[in-house]
């Protein structure tokens, strides 16, 4: 992977699967462990779901911008939609007893569970979610016997 790569994706379910696959591939290339790869790809999937469904509401004229940036310490992933921006105060705690049996509302919680840093910046022109996974052990990008 280059230092930074970004994709402009349609607001479709295929984008959700594609974002997950890209995250899994890049995390693998960068030498993350299996459980970290699963966490990263799942966090990206949840972010993409939010962008496609809740942000862009499947609108064909709205895009999802997915970017991966590699730094010496981190994998930084940014997911941006072109919706109206989410209300962070309106997100219920999915672990509260009264919310446990709700059928939705766990996406951001899972992102926060799986990533080291999650920053959500809503605006009137869209929501940007930044997901950061620290590199533990060997440096990002270093692979034994890599060409």
């Amino acid at each position: 992977m280059e230092q930074q790569v970004s994709y402009t994706l349609d607001s479709t379910l295929e984008t959700v699967d594609s974002a997950e696959e890209k995250a899994s591939r890049i995390a693998t290339e960068l030498g993350f462990k299996d459980d970290e790869i699963m966490q990263i790809s799942m966090a990206v999937r949840e972010g993409a779901v939010n962008a496609v469904l809740h942000g862009n509401n499947y609108a064909p004229d709205k895009k999802v911008i997915l970017a991966f940036q590699r730094t010496p310490e981190d994998l930084v992933i940014t997911i941006r939609d072109q919706g109206r921006g989410i209300d962070l105060n309106g997100i219920p705690n999915p672990l509260a007893p009264e919310n446990l049996l709700k059928t939705s509302g766990r996406g951001i919680f899972l992102m926060r569970s799986f990533m080291d840093v999650v920053e959500i910046r809503p605006s009137q022109t869209g929501t940007e979610v930044k997901l950061i996974k620290h590199v533990h052990g060997k440096p990002v990008g270093h692979q034994e016997g890599s060409q």
Partner: protein, 114 residues
């Protein structure tokens, strides 16, 4: 791999063997339709065997919750069987592990219905 389901009956209990991914879209819809169809036909003792489910996202978790509450609201009972580590861990962190009736032995799960 998309989700696949097969249904069998054991001593009056309906066991749904699930494999693949329970995720937003086809996987979630398939599970939802199957459980609703079973309930509509009067099958109210249901086990979801998740032993071959290798991936589940928040939408899939939502569908498990929906299946559980829909079955309960119709006077039935739904258990989960053979959780993979990934699904087990997800239910732990979402605090749903203690909400669901989770079993790891099919015969005991079948016998456990009221």
């Amino acid at each position: 791999m998309s989700m696949k389901l097969s249904i069998r009956q054991v001593d009056g209990v309906t066991i749904v063997d699930c494999s693949g991914r329970i995720t937003l879209g086809e996987g979630s819809v398939t599970l939802r339709d199957t459980v609703r169809d079973l309930l509509a036909k009067g099958n109210k003792k249901i086990i979801l065997n998740l032993g071959e489910v290798n991936y589940i996202d928040s939408s899939g978790i939502g569908e498990l919750v929906s299946a559980f509450t829909t079955t309960k609201n119709q006077g039935g009972e739904l258990k989960l069987l053979n959780l993979t580590k990934k699904v087990h861990d997800l239910l732990q962190i979402t605090k749903l592990y203690t909400v669901f009736d989770v079993k790891d032995d099919e015969a005991a799960a079948v016998k456990g219905f009221k």
